[in-house]
Structure formats: C-alpha cells, structure tokens
Symmetry: none
Subunit: 210 residues, 4 copies
DNA sequence: TATGAATGAGACTTCATTCAT
DNA sequence: AATGAATGAAGTCTCATTCAT
C-alpha cells in the first residue's frame, strides 16, 4: 500500500480514536488495554501504533479534545447583543450537549480525564485550557453586563464564571452517574441563577428566561 | 497467633487507609500499586491483605468517603431555624472543607472516585449515596423555605439542590487543578446564588450572605 | 516465605546467572529472550525480576564478571620472584582457563560481551577494567624485568602487555570458533614470544619455558 | 516494471550495504532495526527486500567481510623474496588497515561478526574463512623461513600463524574499545615478536624490524 | 498474626516481513 | 521496480495476590 492520502490517514486516526473513546468511556483509561482498543478498532496492534505513539498519546488526544469545546463556543460567539441573553444562550448550548445521547461517551471520558488531570501534566493542561475557554467567554459577558449595569458589581466576574462552569461540571457528573437527573429542571434553575446575578431593579423579573 | 485487640485492629486499618489515601491521591487508583501502599504503610503485603481483601476493597473504602458527609451533616445538624440561613451555613461548612489543606488528599481521591464510579457499581453506589445525603438536606431546607414563602416555588427543590451540589463538585475540581482558585470570591457568589432563589421582595438585598 | 537468608539469596542469584550464562552463551544477549532464561532457571518471570532489574542488568552482571579475573590474577600474584617466570606462569594460568571445558560458556559470553562493549558504556567499562587488570600485572612484571636488564628496553612495557593480552583475546576467539585450535602448540609459541622479548644474551636460550 | 541495469543494481546494493554497515557498526546487528537501515539508505522497505532477502542476509553479507582479506592479501601478494620480510610487510599492511579511520565501521562490524559467528553457522564460516586466508599466507611464509633456517623449527608454523592473527584480533578489540591504544608502539612489539621467532644467531639484532 | 518471596497472567510496545497499489 | 501501510508474533516487564514459614 503506497502512500495513503491525508484523508484516509485522518479516517484511520478517527477510527482508532473512536474505538479508544468507546473503551475509555466504559472502563477508564487505565483499565482499558491496548488490546481492547485494537480489537474494537478492527485494526492490528502495529497499525494503532502507526498512528499513536503510545497509550498515553491516545489518552492525551482524547482527554483534551478541544474540538468539541471550540465548536460549542463558536455557536455562541455569534451571540445576541445582550450579554445576559448570551449567558442564557450558553446555558442552552451546554444543555443540548449534556442531553445529546451521542455525547455520552465523550462526557464519561471527560470525567476520566478530570481525574487523570490530577497526575498527568499534559492532560491537566488540556483540561484546564478547555475550561478556560468558556470561562473567558463568560467573564467577558459578565463584565460587559456589569459595565452596562445589568449584573451586580459586588460579585467578581471570574467567580461568577467559575460558578457557572462548576455547575456544568457537576451536572455532567450527576448525569453520568444517575438515572434520574432532570436536565430540564436543572437548566431552569441555572437560568434562574443567572437572573439572580442581576442588579435589583423593578423590571428584573420580567426578563426571567422564557 | 496472638489475637490483637479491636483497638489495635482499627489502628492498623487506619494506618493502611492513610497510606492508601496518600498514594491514591498522588497517582490515582490504578496507577498506584499495592506495593506503594504496602511500603507507605510500613506493613507487609500479607498484613495489608489481612485487613483488606483486595485492592478494590481499599478503593471502595476510600472512594466512598463517608467522612465528608458525616462531618458536613453533623456541622449543619445544629442548623438555624431559618432554612435559608441553613443553606448559607451549609455553604460555609463546605467552604471550610474545601479550604482545609489537610483535606487536599481526600478531595483528590474523591475526584478519582468520581471517575471510578463510572465503572464500578459499588463505588458508584457509595459516591451517589454520599451526595444524596447533603442533597436531601438541601431539598428539605428548600422545601421548607418554599413552604414559608421564602424561596420561589417555580423552581424544583431537587433541581436547586442538584445545582448547589454541582457547584461544589465543580469547585473541588477547579481547586484541585488550579493554583488560582479564589475560594472567598466564589463563596460570595454561591451565597448570592442562594439569595437569588428567594422570592422577589424589597428586603431581599438586606440578607445577602452574613 | 519470610525473609530469605543471604546465602539463599545468593544461591538464587547464581541460579539465575547460570541460566543466563547458558542462554547467552548459546544465542547471544539479544537473541536470548527473558523467557529462555526464566525457563532454564526453573523460576518464574517475577522471581527473575526480583533479583535483576532488567535484562540489561543481567547482561552487565555477566559481561563484567570480574570475579573470574581476580581469581586468575590472585593465583599469579603469589608468583615467582623472577619476573619472566611470572609471565610464563601467567600464560600457564590462562592456558588452563582456555582449556577448561567448564569455562566454554564463559568464554563465549565473553566474546558476546566484547561486541556489546562497543555500544553499551557500562559493559565496556566492565570489559576494559577486566582487561586492565592482567595488563597492569604484565606491565609491572615487564618493567621489573626491564629494570633488571632481563627484557629489552626498546619495547614499551605497555605495548608488550597489550600484545600478550591481544594474543589471548585472539586465542579465545579462535578456540570458540574452531574445532582444531591446538592449545598446546599455541602456548609454546606464546612462551617463545615472551622469551623473544629478552635481552640478547648468550644464556637466553637456556631459560626457554620449562 | 522497468528493469534496471546491472550497474544500477550494484549501486543500490552498495547503497544498502553502506547504510547497514553504518547502523550495525553503531548498534550491533540485533539492536539495529530494518527501519534504521531503510531510513539511512534513503530507500523504502520494499526496495531493501528487493536486494536482500532478509536481515540475516544483510548480516551475513557484512559479517563475512571479504574486503579486508582481499585488500590485505593483494597488498602482500607482491611480497618480498625474504619470508621474514614478508611477515613484516604483512604487519605493516594490517597496521595500516587498523589505523585507517575510514575502516572504523568495518572493524566494529567485524567484532559484532565475531560474536555472531558463535551462533550463526553461515557467519562463522565466513569469518573463519576470512581468517584462514591470511593464516595460510603466514603459514606458507613461516614454513619457507623454517626451511631456510631463518625461523626456529621447534615452533609449529600453524601456531605461529595463529598467534600473529590473534595479536591482530586483540588489537582490533583494544583499538575499538579504547582511546589510548598506541598503534605505533604495539606494531614495534609485533615486529619484535616476529624477530623473536628467528633462530638464535649472533646477527639477530641487526635485522630488527626494517 | 505477620512476613515477603514467589507466581504467572497480562500489560504495553516493537519490528521483520509482506503485499496491494 | 518501488512504495510504505499493515500485520501479528514475540519481546520485556509489572503487579495483585498467595502461602510457606
């Protein structure tokens, strides 16, 4: 087989990454053997190592999948002019991601990545960067809102951002463990949390998330 | 075979658990070898297996971290009569737990446990139960507050509880990864979130977090 | 099995080293698998790694077996007062070592070590040190002889030593390859080489190798 | 499939052999991968296998180093009429070969071949034949010298030949390992060794090494 | 009770060789 | 003739657990 096209190469990579994603999602990084991934990918041991230098390489490639996050944020970047609407939009986007059944494996692998981030610097960097992205977006929105007098100024924009991010992290955990996580209700609560950050004005309540 | 006293027995157990906690905290469950724990505990392989049937046994004993729940709940059991004060008290207790440097290892192991919970039913049960306890407490407080007209009735008590729990889960993650997690500011935000759940009344702002 | 005695420990080590010696002798370092050594030693994989950290460790332990050399030299250290007799004694000792059928494996492994020394610094150090020992002895003898006027002063003592050492290295090679290496005849020649280094005196011939 | 000329074919072969020589010289036969050779040769895996059936084929082609023998023998073929002069000439030729920096890789690969000869019959045959050639030449010279009364008759011609060959084998080893091998001094010693084989005559000293 | 040497299945990875293109 | 992606057996090494002492 002579030189493969970039497209084919990328296809193989994806094939392996998908197999790894499925395996890691089910058993975690360290309880998954390369043999599992090899079998699931339908390729041979050697072929897998042709595309990824090591199991760690595979872990890092998956733990830090920036792609998803970028996609998510891009869909919000074109957001509404009102910063608070922007926050609500962000919540909707994440809610959709949280609900998507196809993303279950990714969410589970994400959690494994959170643990792995504690002892693997490369993974941690990826994870933290992945979280800094939405955090920065939220900070920007909040600061704009504060500047416009829409959000209380006695709360740090960064703390608000971290809190919102934390909520989603916790939701991912609860959703992945539990069978009875009511996404709808929780999202309504998050909307209310956002509105709770507003400055106290008579017209506040009118805006409460549709 | 001189039988040892229950007290000694319990001491040995703790000795092993502490060693395991330290190891797991540093390297995760599956990257820690029994040999590491044995060495750190100062005992022998045989001795460790005398107290714990297997490595999984050890993992389960630690992942399901009864300590935190009990400490937290005990501290709040003496709760104030006002349910919203109760919520704020809960936040303070968690904030203290989150800040305690001695609890760092426990927090880290907790995160590893969250990942492990995805594939180990026993661990998951422990983790979920550990979370259901404060959640139930919050639900009770919120329902009482809603009954008293202090908290909006259009939000589910369970969703509120899950949201508050999620916030703390996310904070644990962010604190354990990051060097620049500002606990104070974030706690202020959580207080504000709780107040945001209040019914809209002119006197709301007065109550904001002690 | 509680703590093993030093004697037993040493026995196990020897057991493994002997198995390794046999395997390496037959197939060389890199064509011998740990499985071969494990099987031949009668122990388990794990047990072998309990005594040697790695295959390289094993290679180094064998490639540089200083013991043998020391033993050889000790038997000559108590040598005759006449330095030239000392050289002849050395030749006899090496001749005996070269002939000893029990040493065949060692000689073969030695040759593998010579090749390995080209790319493994640790092995090289061991090999070179092992050769420096007899070389230094020869240099000492030759210098004494030169001082006493028994050996020509126009030849470097070091060059003479290297030449004699080289002869033995070459003999080991030829003996291990060939089926028709006549040790006796070659040793007689070496004796004559030594005598050839003498100063030209009428009585020279009388001394020729007992 | 455009057939290529024999010239091109031979060029390719040499290209591969040179790459292999460099690799083997650095890392030995078994620590060198085909991939190393392929990369160094600038060709592809397939191409290499078009010229050599296997890695062993390559090893055999190099271990059995015909070059040296031929070069050496050709240089001496024009030998002087005096057999002892012939021996000295031989020494000079080998000394030159030993000193030639361009031959370093060949010498190193030669040593690897000596080890390989212990377990690979084909390689052994090549190596032994390679040594038998100069040995036979020396035997012929010595026998002629003995017949002419120039060399002592109590020493076997074959033993003398083996001894001289051994010296050079040892020198190759010592040179390849060491940084401080004094070729000049050692060669002087070899010359003296040859002269030491002479029959005892008053004029011996006059002849010492041209 | 306690020890720690021993086990052996299984982990990750490499690499000589092939063959579709 | 030439390519290089793919194969898969085999390599080295680890580690949870056991059991003779």
């Amino acid at each position: 087989m002579p030189k493969i096209s970039d497209k084919q190469r990328e296809g193989r990579r994806r094939q392996i990454l998908e197999a790894a994603l499925a395996c890691f999602s089910e058993n975690g990084f360290h309880q998954t053997g390369m043999a599992d991934i090899v079998k699931r990918s339908g390729l041979s041991h050697g072929a897998v190592y042709l595309y990824f230098a090591s199991k760690d390489d595979l872990i890092e490639a998956l733990a830090d999948d920036r792609h998803r996050r970028e996609a998510v944020l891009n869909s919000v970047a074109q957001g509404s002019s009102d910063p608070i609407d922007g926050l609500h939009a962000l919540v909707r986007v994440y809610a959709a991601w949280l609900t998507d059944p196809a993303g279950e494996a990714r969410r589970r692998v994400g959690i494994h990545g959170w643990a792995e981030a504690l002892r693997n610097r490369r993974v941690r960097t990826g994870v933290v960067e992945g979280i800094d992205m939405p955090r920065a977006l939220i900070v920007a929105l909040v600061e704009r809102a504060q500047h416009d007098g829409l959000i209380r100024r006695d709360l740090g924009a960064d703390a608000i951002a971290r809190t919102l991010v934390a909520i989603f992290q916790g939701f991912v955990l609860q959703k992945c463990w539990g069978e009875d996580f009511d996404v709808e209700a929780c999202m309504a609560t998050v909307g209310s949390v956002i509105d709770g950050f507003r400055t106290a004005r008579p017209d506040v309540r009118r805006r409460t998330r549709a």
